[in-house]
């Protein structure tokens, strides 16, 4: 890539910091050049986010349909999978898989709910009611 071809398409990161890119100068020697972002990367990130949004909406619907517990909704909202959630809550993966079932979730003791609440940064009531505050 030539220095003058380093893309300068403003990305959300570009508003915070420019990124260092390596490119060649007129003599073919490598130099660094700052980039504000690249359209292609912005679209790749947008694609990933639109998938996240879909997964959250899908989880929301599943909870309303009583096919899943609110844990699924908050897990997707936190961009987590069962492994990551297990890491943060300290539950085993198999426990979380059970907690994803509405009937098991309904009987969860307050202590366990509090562990989820802490990780999702919401109150126990918010979890039960699938309430979201702000962003």
């Amino acid at each position: 890539m030539k220095k003058e071809d380093v893309p300068q398409d403003l990305s959300s990161l570009g508003k915070v910091t420019k990124e260092v890119c390596y490119a060649t100068d007129e003599l073919g020697k490598y130099v660094t050049e700052l980039s504000r972002g690249w359209d292609i990367k912005i679209t790749a990130l947008d694609t990933a986010w639109s998938d996240v949004e879909l997964r959250i909406a899908d989880a929301h619907q599943k909870v309303l349909n009583k096919q899943a517990s609110p844990v699924l909704f908050f897990m997707e909202k936190g961009l987590m999978d069962i492994g990551i959630l297990a890491g943060y809550t300290g539950f085993w993966k198999w426990q979380i898989k059970r907690h994803l079932k509405p009937n098991v979730f309904a009987k969860l003791p307050l202590k366990k709910l509090q562990r989820y609440a802490e990780v999702f940064n919401v109150s126990v009531d918010d979890i039960k009611n699938m309430t979201v505050h702000g962003t």
Binding site: L13, V20, Y22, Y30, I84, A86
Partner: protein
């Protein structure tokens, strides 16, 4: 308390941390490309069965921590590296390092990294930054991908040091133990060792590693449209592009940094082939970016026929061939002593 420390911006976080920590102890010859090349940072692996952020694992670099470890080893610099199970002990150790005058590298997750834009905050745990001081309840942070230094509260730093999930950092902390004088001869030898290691990795017979891995990925991509469907194959391609371009790779999945490294290597080892082979990596980096443009056409939904997937896959086959030849040429260099 603030240690005297010069913040340097780099393309990639671990290269940057390595370079900055070494510069800080007086090893000022080490640039980002040298750290990357001596540390044998270039790599490729595609693991179809392992998922990260709901997509396949595709890595263009070695495991976190290796670049720092290998570069220091090659230069004869002893390092300290620690992981912790206790958050309290991790903080105590960090504070002791700072009190002893050592700026330190920390592996962190980016999900809770408050100074990153929200759009970039996925559960990605292979980020690295330097802590170089502590004032009241704030740590002074030099994050190599940022233009300027930044800060994290005690709580924020603890949270990112103990991020969970794949490659969880477990508070990992590292720094060069004592300042050493590094000679040009050591760098020269480190370059040769680094190149040999990378050539060996990239020419590995394993089907998912190195050049074979790139070819394998190219062939898989051609099948994605049928096996995954349009939506999922678009997501997988977006994941490929993000790994290749997004996480501070300097462009072209680190290929440009590697090309820059080979040019710098030539200054220490005046072997003419290095400059020619450097050009092959520029060509490969350019092709990776052309492939990214093709991939974006697909995940934007602008194109998406089987032919478009074939073109995408063929780019990777072409890249694999260019890189295979380049690494074979590198492994055959006669270093003259």
């Amino acid at each position: 308390m603030e240690l005297s420390f010069e913040h340097l911006q780099s393309a990639h976080c671990e290269n940057g941390v390595t370079r900055s920590l070494l510069n800080n102890i007086g090893v000022s010859q080490i640039t980002e490309p040298l750290a990357f090349g001596i540390g044998s940072g270039l790599f490729f692996v595609y693991i179809p069965l392992l998922k990260i952020n709901n997509g396949p694992v595709i890595a263009f670099r070695v495991m976190p921590g290796l670049i720092f470890k290998r570069t220091c080893k090659a230069l004869g610099i002893e390092i300290v590296r620690k992981k912790f199970s206790s958050k309290e002990k991790a903080k105590v150790f960090l504070d002791e390092c700072l009190a002893d005058g050592h700026p330190v590298g920390c592996q962190v997750g980016v999900y809770y990294l408050s100074y990153f834009p929200k759009e970039y905050r996925f559960h990605f745990n292979a980020h690295n930054l330097i802590v170089y001081g502590h004032n009241e309840d704030q740590y002074l942070i030099s994050d190599p991908i940022m233009e300027n230094t930044t800060i994290l509260s005690d709580y924020e730093l603890e949270r990112v040091r103990f991020a969970k999930g794949t490659l969880a950092p477990n508070g990992q902390i590292y720094y060069p133990k004592i300042a050493e004088v590094v000679t040009d001869e050591q760098i020269r030898k480190g370059i040769i060792t680094g190149i040999k290691k990378t050539a060996n990795d990239m020419l590995s017979p394993m089907p998912i590693l190195g050049v074979n891995g790139i070819r394998y990925t190219g062939n898989r991509i051609k099948k994605w449209r049928d096996s995954l469907g349009e939506k999922k194959s678009g997501l997988y391609l977006a994941q490929l592009v993000r790994m290749q371009e997004e996480i501070g790779t300097g462009g072209g999945g680190f290929r440009y940094i590697y090309a820059a490294f080979l040019q710098e290597a030539h200054a220490y080892n005046p072997v003419d082939e290095l400059l020619e082979i450097s050009k092959a990596f520029t060509q490969s980096g350019d092709l990776w970016r052309t492939a990214a443009v093709q991939a974006a056409g697909i995940f934007k939904g602008r194109i998406g026929t089987q032919h478009d997937f074939n073109v995408m896959g063929d780019y990777l086959l072409e890249i694999a061939e260019i890189e295979r030849r380049a690494f074979v040429a590198l492994s055959k260099i006669n270093w003259k002593g």
